[in-house]
Amino acid sequence: MIDTSPNRANSTPDPASITAPKASVFVWVFLASAVVAGGISAAGWSVEPRRFAFSYVIALTFVISMGVGSLAWLMILHVAGAVWSQVVRRLLENLTRPLAWNLLLFIPLAMNLSRLYVWADSSQRTTDPELMRKAIWLNPPLFDARSAFYLAAWSILAGLLCRGSTRQDTTGNHELIGRMRRTSMWGLILLGLTTSFFSFDWIMSLDPHWSSTIFGVYFWAGSLVGSLAALILLTLGLRASGKLDGLVTIEHMHELGKLLIGFVIFWAYIAFCQYLLIWYANFPEETRWYVIRRSGNWNELSWSLLFGHFVTPFFLLLPRANKRDPFWLGFIAILIIVFHYADLYWLVMPTLNTESFKPHWLDLSVAASLISFYCAIVAHACRTRPPVPIGDSRLTEALAFENP
């Protein structure tokens, strides 16, 4: 707990920081679950290495998308300077903390490249003319270097913003607002480029003969909506435990609900544009990607994405009352997170199971392990600092926010 009140003259002991969650039990539960599931997955790695690699890339992309999505929101809030959102800024910062561990988590993936990517297989790379042409971009060393660059860049960006915010807690320095805003400006440019190329490298290149220019935007859309749902869930959880009493009100939740429906629509818009244009132009090399996803029982998963990732949350979020009801908001957030995972699964797994959708216990254990690890880091981060940026001069106004 970074409690700085003793350093400040005239400052009364800070009630909220004293009631800082003593229950580190969540951190330990999550860590234990990560270790257990991780152990099972490691066993799976030795039994079915190929399946493990695919499950791993889905789960890791999932937690990364949550982290980069939160980072994007955080920077958008800094750049836009929106007042009401200051109350959730600290929670967004906490959601970006796991980004610092991604370089470590990347190692198992780097060890499995040739099991995942056709282009990483040297026999293919030297025979397929298209792969030979692309080899200067799609080759293992450069892939590793690029991935390391993306992961390091996100970790540094998240670190810079968190550090500034922590310093603001103790000093209340106005200049920090401007400094974080400037970091966010170049940070957003960097993040936009790196996340696009990340999605090209990690997901799109699973089928190196297929490409779609909107793919990066599709990844943004999924990450933004998924991380927003995660933020809502985290906020609701902390509210339920009383940590945010008088800080994050139902008015703020309503606002988050409006953003959520906006980005649910945005995801559907991008997904539909990609589908329609490829369906309509009907190039064999492009439609093949969708033909796989619309044959066998992959088709059912495709339909479930339409309903689970768009139609259901859209209609549930439409009434004002639902956006102001923690139960419905939480339910929708969970639904969206589940379908965000399903979306990534749908992007990745048909490369392995081209015939049909075959769930595997490794999918579950790897996801459980990485997600638990992610939650443990976030839970730990929530314990170390006050739940709102108490040094920000806009906070008073943000707390009093009401929907018109």
Binding site: S5, S11, T213, N282
Partner: protein, 662 residues
């Protein structure tokens, strides 16, 4: 912790007001209405004559092209689309910034938009008119444009709903309709202001009819605001869908350089980018000529510049991803198209586009460019030019070198092409000049609502302008209350209050005293009034939803019936029943009917149009749309008692209290 928060919060810098020059409600009304009411300035005639000359050129060229045929344009095989579609996409794009400012920024509660939205919306309408002109002429036989309407035409076939071109018709037609409606909707309170300021005669009648009998009732404002929010949401969805569908015209094809999945979001950003620079191009001179510097200050311009920078970078992202994918993707033709754009005979167009759209906007990183009007004007001109060239590059360079070198060719514009391009600007600017003379170019009621004095909790500074008047008024209060002409049963007691805060307090007081049939009249919606009047949530969203459901069902079944049942025509190998291809038109129609529902909801719930109402007889009631704040207690209220009610109104601070008869 709360103490610490307060301690830091107290030191927060106070945000400067968006409206400069110390304006109050009356002076703002005078300023904006004056643009319409005062004699036409000489500069207006000079600019208008130039624009009118350009319009005449455009008109003559349109007649020439339609009567002779589009062979007088420079297009030929393989370049079958050139200036016509370039201009169409350019103008549709310009329109998008108007909707961004009026709708999207409204949803994000950006108060600074209030000074700009009216004229930006007008810009949208006129830009869409230009786009409509070009796309209609390009049909060749323009008089047959009605084939696009879903009615069986003279050869008994229906439109092909699986074609992006009929999607385009639905999109542009819906966009024009909804934008006009949104614009007119926002104008209603300001038209009422002009009506009430008019000395009489034809002017008062025309504005009066257009204002639909708007009287600024608190109950009306309640539904009005709800509809405005609905329309803003719908317009946001619409603006994205329109340029998306315009991009489908290209991206659904199999032409290298056109078929790219990023086209929809990339076209939308490009459209907003170009439209914002058109806003700057127009507002920088106009704020000087029309004396609107107080309303459109440096802060407004700076935000516009930042938005141009942001959308410009998103557009650059689109360019970059396209280039990367041209290399990364498998098609050698795609690679060639991009190589040809950069180095072929149209390379100068490509590099003009790159310099104007990608590099020049970065000047807005420098504060000097964001705060110096003439500098930002120059940057905006560059962006306008660059965005026109972007469309030219996309349309022409993708076509002029076909798959086979034997079918390569060039496009050279003819004099008709060039004069028609100029004529388009003539149409746009003429309409715009007429607009700024005939209608308030700033949304008065919205600008008033962001003045600090509009906040009911703001303590008003004494207003010297009205002091004598008010002294007189308070003397009148002691006079008998029933001063009105008696020609019917009493309708209500009307009192005027000094400001929104006083009015809100008075309403609270009367409600506490048991009055229920109250209504307030104010030039803008007062925050908290719906609660004080104990109004339920507006039912407008229900009307909107009903409209949307109807539009969705209607459009989808129409397309299904005509394509899959009535006239089963194989088009491009698409399935006879293609729900995918029906989505764009279904969406557009849904938005169209939802918007109709929202507006109909406001009119029905408010009982408008209603050109006569007893309160209009109030002696100074014309101020209700300017700077007056009125409270009416209906005679039907069970608690109503002539002397007790007027006494209570006077006690609450009411002035010029009078009894009005029906």
């Amino acid at each position: 912790m709360n103490e610490r928060i307060k301690e830091y919060g107290g030191a927060a810098p106070i945000e400067p007001s968006l409206i400069e020059g110390g304006h109050d409600f009356a002076s703002l009304t005078d300023l904006v209405s004056g643009l319409v009411e005062l004699p036409t300035p000489r500069w207006w005639w000079i600019i208008f004559s130039i624009c009118a000359v350009l319009l005449v050129i455009g008109g003559l060229m349109s007649v020439y092209v339609i009567s002779t045929g589009i062979g007088v344009w420079g297009m030929n095989s393989p370049v079958g689309w050139a200036f016509d579609i370039t201009n169409f996409v350019f103008w549709v794009g310009i329109g998008h910034a108007g909707t961004l400012i009026s709708a999207i920024l409204f949803l994000f509660r950006q108060k600074w938009r209030s000074s700009l939205n009216r004229f930006a919306e007008a810009m949208t309408l006129f830009a869409v008119a230009c786009a409509g002109l070009f796309v209609t002429i390009h049909l060749g036989r323009a008089w047959l444009f009605w084939y696009l309407i879903p009615a069986p035409n003279s050869i008994s076939i229906y439109p092909n709903y699986r074609s992006a071109l009929s999607w385009d018709f639905a999109a542009v037609a819906t966009y024009a309709t909804v934008s006009t409606m949104f614009w007119f909707y926002g104008l209603i309170p300001d038209l009422a202001t002009l009506r009430d300021r008019a000395e009489g005669g034809i002017r008062r009648r025309i504005y009066g009819l257009l204002a639909l009998g708007w009287r600024g009732s608190g109950r009306h404002w309640h539904n009005y605001e709800s509809t405005y929010l609905m329309l803003a949401g719908l317009a946001t969805a619409l603006v994205v869908s329109v340029h998306t569908i315009v991009s489908f015209d290209f991206a659904t094809s199999v032409i290298p350089g056109w078929h790219s999945t990023i086209f929809p979001p990339y076209f939308v950003t490009g459209a907003i980018f170009s439209g914002l620079s058109m806003v700057i191009t127009l507002i920088v001179p106009l704020r000087v000529l029309c004396g609107l510097k107080d309303l459109v200050g440096p802060r407004h311009l700076e935000v516009l510049c930042k938005l141009i920078l942001a959308t410009g970078m998103l557009l650059s992202y689109g360019y970059m991803i396209e280039l990367f994918n041209a290399w990364y993707g498998g098609s050698p033709m795609e690679r060639f198209v991009f190589y040809n754009r950069m180095t072929g005979p149209y390379a100068w167009c490509y590099w003009t586009m790159m310099v104007c759209n990608v590099f020049i906007p970065h000047l807005f990183w420098f504060r000097w460019f964001r705060t110096t009007p003439w500098a930002m004007f120059l940057v905006a001109i560059c962006v306008n030019v660059g965005m026109w060239f972007e469309r030219f590059v996309i349309v022409v360079t993708s076509l002029h070198r076909d798959y086979l070198p034997s079918s390569w060719g060039m496009f050279y514009p003819t004099w008709v092409d060039i004069l028609l391009l100029i004529g388009g600007f003539g149409l746009f600017s003429t309409l715009f000049m007429l607009f700024i003379r005939l209608l308030p170019m700033v949304a008065l009621s919205e600008v008033k609502a962001i003045l600090p004095a509009a906040n009911p909790h703001h303590s008003p500074a004494p207003n010297p302008r009205h002091e004598t008047e008010e002294a007189e008024a308070s003397r009148e209060t002691s006079a008998p209350a029933s001063a009105g002409v008696f020609d019917g049963p009493p309708h209500c007691a009307l009192a005027r209050f000094d400001g929104p805060g006083e009015l809100l307090e008075a309403v609270k007081r009367l409600v506490a005293a048991g009055y229920r049939l109250l209504d307030t009249y104010s030039p803008f919606p007062i925050h908290g009034m719906e609660k004080a009047l104990m109004l339920k949530r507006s039912k407008v969203p229900m009307f909107t939803l009903a409209g949307g459901i109807f539009g969705f069902t209607f459009a989808h079944s129409l397309q299904w019936y005509q394509s899959a049942v009535a006239y089963r025509l194989d088009a491009g190998g698409k399935p006879i029943n293609s729900p995918e291809a029906f989505v764009p038109i279904t969406f557009e129609t849904m938005v169209l009917y939802a918007a109709f529902g929202a507006v109909a909801g406001m009119l029905l719930l408010n009982g408008l149009p209603r050109l006569y109402h007893p309160v209009f007889r109030g002696r100074s009631f014309t101020r209700a749309t300017g700077d007056g704040f009125f409270l009416a207690v209906e005679a039907r209220d069970p608690k109503f008692d002539q002397s007790a009610t007027t006494a209570l109104l006077a006690e609450a601070g009411g002035k010029e209290i009078e009894l009005l008869h029906a």
